[in-house]
Symmetry: C3
Subunit: 352 residues, 3 copies
């Protein structure tokens, strides 16, 4: 019915392994994006908040939050990859590879690396490896995600299934490229908000981030549009009211950013998300939900050639409408516990 | 009752043809305004989104969205012109005359060019020609609008009616001043999001923009304040609850910007609004309404002296709570169809 | 229950006179913060709105709104001072000491100057003197505030009470440091929006600011996070729903900024808040409330050595869900009148 010039997005049968998408709308990141990000989530990491703090330790100025980079690159992929997605299934092998500063312009490319039709033949899973580049054509971000995409025609033939093998975690030897050599002596722990360095965290340690935020429709819509992410489930109540949830779905990236901002309370010196080893949006989140978060330290690792920083692998769990003093994650039997909405396996970088 | 230092705005009998208002509060446009505009509407036109894209084709950097310029200039006029308006009746002869960049400072002047008392003697229509200027005193925007304004005293004598003659459409020969000579070879259609150039659109063609956005109170209030537009119908629920609509009215400019942003899907290369030939807010819009949009190509025109760009006249229609696959506009008999809220006749500029 | 690395904030018994807190997270102020501030409150003071206007009278460019400086510095103090506060009782001796421009980085320090246990022994009042500094270590803001803070352990011994003596008002001789010598001849009253200068206001004069704004949850949350203020009463509906008010409390600073922005209508040339002599959040404010405001001129004062500017002491009263044509403040008997939410005693600076 729609005019032929309208982009209706791709359906499962449009994807083939090896296909490459040069996504539309390059985007210059500005101090305005940073301010809005601060207003939407309230992050307090000193490196990203203060040009002075960042300069004193070796950055050119305050880099933008790693998740701004993630969301902006992700947003560009939506019209080509997930406009007709049923679900965003997961992330892996995500690495932040270069610091991004206000004034940098990001664009994004994706390559299809896997396809598998669903058994119901109405949809299929598509794996893409996406990379974000700056104006100097440096890769600033790379990640794999997989989504379940609707078929246009259920009768279309199934492609040969290709399921990529993905690393269980990013190799810590490859981390840290986005962090310049730090003058750790100038890293002021008092201004940073916590005295604990990389060496103070031990595997198994659990941290309740205590704080919580209740989400509003205007907030998640503004956030999602800021990333030029057009997925209609986040914006169109008129249509969503007829659907499964009867309301707009919050973009999963909003929950990621909220949980990350909340994690400052306990992880104030984990100033950089170097990698997302795995990520799963466990349950939907809606306006009115209150997001809590907690972290578990999973592993620590030295970074080859770096005496200034170390890597901490942590599982960041976001939970809705339920405080995290008892660290909710899974029920007996292995299903996710009531309220869990995000399960994110991260490599964080802290000063040593 | 209010102190004498309070501006209660002008009433119909305060306006006389020839009167000039130098409006208050010049405003420097910044990257912050651009980010907030992106967050509020989600535009994806590459020229305004990327400094790199803009520079490669001939701009100094990414210009700000044309409707930011329109809303900021419009906002300045409200305290003098429409504080006591009953309705904003229409726009004509609106032209964008120079690119505006972050850092530019805009101010606005209006001249009264028409007055006509209403037959009920309680109000009257005022026509003003408004121009927005930058810090170099260059006119960046010009438009005529007419509003119905309340009388302070119904017994005040009616002025001699003066109704200006307005052009049915802006002469395309006068378009394009805000676009530098473009290096069209560097205009990357893939990054811009669509392959269709100026020559690919033909009069009569209809485009359903498919996407839609549900409006929230916080969104339209933030938008309207960003333009320093103080019209109280948009902000004061305590008073509006006693009025005709029982709630706050969304500033019509918010609907214009939403519809324009939605139009990217189908008109991705129509990167510049060069003129508003006519504009009408057909029905009020409220928080909770979902805005859809569609366009009809009305006319194409070459622009004198320009081989790089061409003009496309398009009617952009915004419709609430109703998809636009059937292109709703008017009912039999000529009245606007159910749901139509905005009827905007534009000259758009596309690369050739 | 929470991990030992979580900051649970300080309790009354943790404070002692003489203690100094170097607060976390220095913050670079940007044009993005200014845009968001404009979107959230709609201020129209020409000096802060236009680089050109500001330069013509003697500023380097448009300084940021004085209350942005106040809120950002205040926000930094929350995790250390008022995370466990029951109530924010008052402000005094607040002075803005240097203009702040986009690009400046602010940090904050507080010294405890008073403590007094409450008679119920469950809490106590803590007085702190806070100062905000820029990247050149210049003090840009100084103020005293006192808060009622919960005790961790009601049995903890009471400290020797120390109640600081605070000035009833800031000495006008000390005002104006944040305003460069102005070229008043270039101060364009028409662009500024009002013809009244310092000399046109007289003690006793009351001004109804007429306009009003209805607050939304998303707006106050975005504002409060922008200042990195983490007080959970503003954000956590899940917890607040169990509390006294059943909903989120609006950060008092939001009401201050709204009232200040509304005061433009009648005080358009009062471009600078030089001091807060006293401030009291009289009653809580919630989303859905409509904020009105009015001012009373209390006193005028010359500023030593300045022929360009003068000081006007004014009481700015914010009132919810009630117009201010009758200037509501106190009932017979002295209690605050119904609807009054903010009582702010300010030194404003105007051109002479």
């Amino acid at each position: 019915m729609s005019g032929s010039k309208t982009n209706a997005g791709h359906f499962f049968e449009d994807f083939a392994v090896g296909q490459v998408f040069e996504h539309a709308t390059p985007r210059t990141i500005t101090a305005g994006d940073v301010a809005l990000y601060t207003g939407l989530y309230g992050p307090r990491f000193a490196v990203q908040s203060s040009d002075e703090f960042a300069r004193r330790i070796g950055y050119a100025r305050a880099p933008v939050d790693d998740l701004i980079v993630f969301h902006v690159v992700f947003g560009k992929t939506v019209p080509d990859i997930s406009r007709n997605a049923i679900a965003n299934l997961g992330y892996a092998e995500c690495r932040l590879l270069a610091a991004v500063y206000p004034g940098d312009t990001l664009s994004a490319t994706s390559e299809v690396i896997g396809v598998r039709e669903s058994s119901n033949r109405a949809s299929g899973v598509v794996w893409v490896r996406t990379s974000g580049r700056n104006q100097r054509d440096e890769t600033v971000l790379e990640y794999v995600r997989w989504v379940m995409v609707r078929k246009r025609d259920n009768g279309a033939p199934a492609p040969e299934p290709v399921v990529p093998t993905l690393a269980e975690r990013v190799d810590p030897a490859t981390l840290g490229a986005a962090v310049p050599p730090l003058d750790v002596a100038n890293y002021d722990l008092e201004l940073a908000g916590q005295r604990h360095r990389w060496g103070d965290y031990a595997p198994g340690e659990k941290i309740d981030h205590v704080d919580a935020m209740t989400l509003e429709e205007a907030e998640h819509q503004i956030a999602t549009r800021l990333y030029q992410n057009t997925a209609k489930v986040h914006f169109n109540l008129h249509e969503q009211a007829q659907g499964q949830f009867k309301r707009r779905l919050v973009y999963g990236g909003v929950v990621m950013s909220l949980a990350r901002a909340l994690s400052f309370n306990g992880l104030a010196n984990a100033f950089h998300v170097a990698a997302i080893n795995a990520g799963r949006h466990v349950a939907p989140c809606f306006a009115g939900d209150t997001v809590y978060a907690w972290s578990e330290a999973l592993e620590t690792a030295e970074i080859a050639g770096r005496r200034d920083i170390g890597a901490l692998r942590a599982r960041l769990t976001a939970v809705k409408n339920r405080p995290c003093a008892d660290f909710p994650l899974r029920k007996e039997g292995g299903d996710y516990a009531e309220g869990v909405i995000l399960d994110l396996d991260l490599w964080l970088v802290l000063p040593r």
